[in-house]
């Protein structure tokens, strides 16, 4: 019997929504970590009951929570009694929330500066984890995309995190600048066919790729045009909102940029616009159908000044042609007086057939489609503002 588990991070806690394979009747469990911002939670492909959570607070900083039983119980890795004291040093552990930029001469990079809003240089300062990406084949390994932009990795189940400093320090860092929401690594894509290849996207620096497991990185933003920066075709500085790939075709990437929906068929080396007939090519999330690599989904938002759907109509747009030709999906979605936003990490697809599609809104609704987007149902509708949505199909 297949079950579906939807992991929802919100401004005020985490929620776990479950249903059977029909995806018709849902139960809601939560809030977990009540009152805390849950930027992201994601299960391990290697062990679906291993779930990592980014729990944050402007007051109390970053916490990493981990479950090994599918969200029934939680722990801050490294702080159970057995792990409390490091035998060698006698010092307490619990460094699961310790994200320190690597400035060591051997493995790190100097902690230089990045561009601030006023054009001056500003030091890197850790603020929070935006995105957690568990390894495809090891439940104890996961990547964390953080603000200020950097990539960290754990190989001990979240007890400790170490920066892959080549990203922040590869050379263009001083030109990176925060977007309105900060400067964070918000997307991490792992390549199933090439374990050493990783893609990340940074707001507002652009998209980057490593081909050697994270040691060295290169910007991959050729073809992007951003009229809001001094050089619209600059190597870095583009406000990429989200990138997505189909696991079977890792060289094909789809991007929702600040404005423009884009596509690359050569691993990000070159991009071309596929906005086509969308009512607005501004938006945040983008995702790919689980079984149709040319079927993609976006949620158009009116503009960068008006973060709500055009005409007050909440519409997911689907392209079955890999872009340019889009159809509105409206059945079950509010078609008047709707002024919510859908944030970048708030859309996910399941692996069932027909493919399920899910997204959450800043109004607290989580919508699900069990038929690839043809029709939608609010599976919960009064949560705090939704920051992230992930889905797991469980055997």
């Amino acid at each position: 019997m297949t079950a579906i588990r939807v992991l929802v991070g919100t401004r005020k806690g985490a929620f776990i929504l479950t249903a059977d394979a029909k995806r018709a009747k849902w139960s809601v469990d939560g809030p977990h970590f009540a009152g805390w911002e849950i930027y992201h939670m994601k299960g391990s492909p290697a062990d679906p009951d291993r779930i990592y959570v980014s729990q944050t607070s402007s007051w109390f900083g970053q916490i990493i929570q981990r479950s090994s039983d599918g969200g029934k119980t939680w722990e801050t890795p490294g702080s159970p009694p057995a792990d409390l004291v490091d035998a060698a040093t006698g010092m307490p552990k619990a460094e699961s929330n310790k994200f320190v930029y690597d400035t060591s001469a051997k493995t790190g990079k100097p902690l230089t500066t990045h561009q601030w809003y006023d054009g001056t240089q500003h030091p890197w300062e850790f603020k929070r984890v935006w995105h957690l990406e568990p390894s495809l084949d090891d439940a104890d390994t996961a990547y964390a995309g953080v603000e200020d932009a950097a990539l960290f990795r754990t190989t001990d189940g979240g007890k400790s995190w170490h920066e892959l400093a080549g990203l922040r320090g590869h050379g263009t860092g001083p030109k990176w600048q925060p977007g309105a929401g900060g400067m964070g690594v918000h997307t991490i894509l792992l390549d199933r066919k090439d374990p050493k290849r990783i893609f990340v996207a940074i707001s507002a620096a652009g998209t980057f790729r490593t081909d050697d497991g994270g040691k060295t990185w290169q910007p991959i933003n050729k073809g992007l045009k951003s009229q809001y920066i001094p050089d619209p075709t600059a190597e870095v500085g583009h406000c990429v909102h989200r990138i997505a790939m189909h696991p079977s075709r890792p060289k094909t990437l789809f991007m929702q940029k600040h404005w423009d929906v884009m596509r690359s068929d050569d691993g990000g080396a070159n991009w071309r616009e596929i906005s086509g007939d969308l009512p607005s090519d501004f938006g945040f999330p983008i995702d790919v159908h689980a079984h149709e690599p040319e079927t993609i989904y976006v949620v158009p938002i009116k503009s960068d000044s008006e973060h709500y759907p055009p005409e007050g109509k909440l519409r997911v747009y689907r392209s079955r042609a890999g872009g340019n030709e889009w159809e509105p999906l409206t059945k079950g979605l509010p078609q008047k007086d709707c002024y919510v936003n859908v944030l970048r990490d708030s859309m996910a697809v399941d692996s069932l057939d027909p493919c399920g599609v899910y997204f959450g809104t800043t109004g607290g609704q989580v919508y699900a489609s069990a038929d690839g987007g043809d029709s939608w149902t609010a599976i919960v509708r009064d949560l705090p503002a939704v920051l992230s949505v992930e889905v797991q199909a469980l055997e």
Binding site: G35, S57, S58, F60, G61, E95, V100
Partner: protein, 98 residues
């Protein structure tokens, strides 16, 4: 025994109800109380003061005997009523919207 009153979110994180009590060796200061607190409740490391710099997080404040001691030196002695456990050392999240 030193009494420490934690804000709601840190009580839930540490999985405690009400005040916590600590044994502090040596002079009773902000720094020694936080050292003892973090040793007893490691999950609180990094939530009150930064892991690397050890500086107080910007929106955390400290009160002792109804006085705001947030900006006192971390190694300054706290009042005798704190050291004797008559009054709790209060760690408070600043009122800052949200």
């Amino acid at each position: 025994m030193i009494r420490v009153a934690l804000p709601f979110h840190l009580r839930t994180l540490a999985r405690v109800d009400g005040e916590v009590t600590l044994v502090v060796d040596g002079p009773v200061t902000q720094g020694s109380i936080l050292d003892a607190l973090e040793a007893r409740y490691p999950m609180l490391r990094g939530t009150i003061r930064d892991h690397a710099t050890r500086r107080r997080r910007a929106l955390v404040r400290f009160f002792a005997c109804k006085e705001d001691v947030t900006h006192a030196a971390p190694d300054a002695l706290l009042p005798a009523a704190i050291a004797s456990g008559i009054e709790p050392f209060r760690i408070v999240g600043a009122i800052a919207g949200g």
